[in-house]
């Protein structure tokens, strides 16, 4: 297990780790520059991948949850997903064939790719207290990749907004109206048959 926070809020993530009563014995990494989202074409969190011993991605970008805290919101039962992960760990059974796994995730569009670079410039400028420069780049990034939550939502707290406030619900409505685009696969974790 490798957990990667697509986040610059190191102290908040540290509190998550310290508050975990079960203890965490796996690496928790900080990806303030969104290196992972560019490399794996990730557009929202949580995104989970299962990767085998030979570094084959057997379950590409998957919207999976560790608990049912937000099930009322997204309608996904995390128990079925956790069962699917346990099955793969124990037996190697996968949810997709190798053929299905290849090409299951759409590549970033050129605009989405460029947006990730502008986001990166924005966070660097924000850290250097160049707020105008940061805002300029955040605005371009959000315009280029309107459905990328790792840009739209992640930038909210960095631009003085609230990622759980009104603008979040506006983003949800906008995303829903666009047919919920996601760079990855949505499935419940069990074969329907």
């Amino acid at each position: 297990m490798i957990a990667v926070a697509i986040d610059e809020a190191v102290d908040t993530i540290r509190n998550y780790v310290n508050d975990d009563t079960d203890g965490i014995d796996y690496p928790v990494l900080i990806d303030a520059d969104h290196v992972l989202t560019e490399l794996y074409a990730i557009s929202n969190v949580p995104t989970v991948l299962l990767i085998d011993e030979d570094d084959n991605i057997v379950q590409p970008n998957w919207n999976a949850y560790a608990s049912n805290t937000f099930t009322d919101f997204h309608g996904i039962d995390s128990e079925r997903q956790l069962d699917a992960i346990r099955r793969w760990v124990r037996t190697g059974e996968t949810m997709m064939s190798a053929d299905e796994a290849r090409g299951a995730v759409d590549d970033l569009t050129p605009d989405e790719e460029t947006a990730k670079l502008h986001f990166r410039l924005a966070t660097h400028l924000r850290n250097a207290d160049d707020h105008d420069g940061a805002e300029r780049n955040f605005a371009i990034a959000c315009e280029l990749a309107p459905h990328d939550w790792t840009i739209r939502r992640a930038s909210m707290p960095l631009r003085g907004g609230n990622p759980f406030g009104e603008e979040f619900f506006e983003l949800v409505a906008e995303h829903r109206a666009a047919g919920r685009p996601y760079h990855g696969v949505n499935h419940p974790g069990v074969d329907e048959s």
Partner: protein, 125 residues
Amino acid sequence: MEAGQAVVIESPPLVTPEQVEEYLGWTLKPEGLCRDERCVLVPDRDALHTDDGVDLRVVTDLLDRPIVVDREAGLVAIGAERSQRLGAVRDAKAPDFSLPDLNGDWHSFADHRSKKKLLVAFSSW
């Protein structure tokens, strides 16, 4: 950091050959742009290396890496080689990356080779 991983550089887009090596790990040689055993041919050396310096936009084009220049801020952002992401989405091969943990110690994905891995991207936002 992983060679070829995304970077943000405080620099104009025109740099010295030494800076290309420092920022990107590629060396300008007579046979092309080289890193370790790999060399990329430079079809138009004059466009790459002008009197004013080496153009990072031409370098990144040859290396198939995206680039954004913010002249006002004096910053250049360079993304990873596109072939790495294409390897993930098209060939289902997990690209390597290195990131720091909460203590600032760097971890490499490649350290977990020969194990089954659950890679989870999460956030506080």
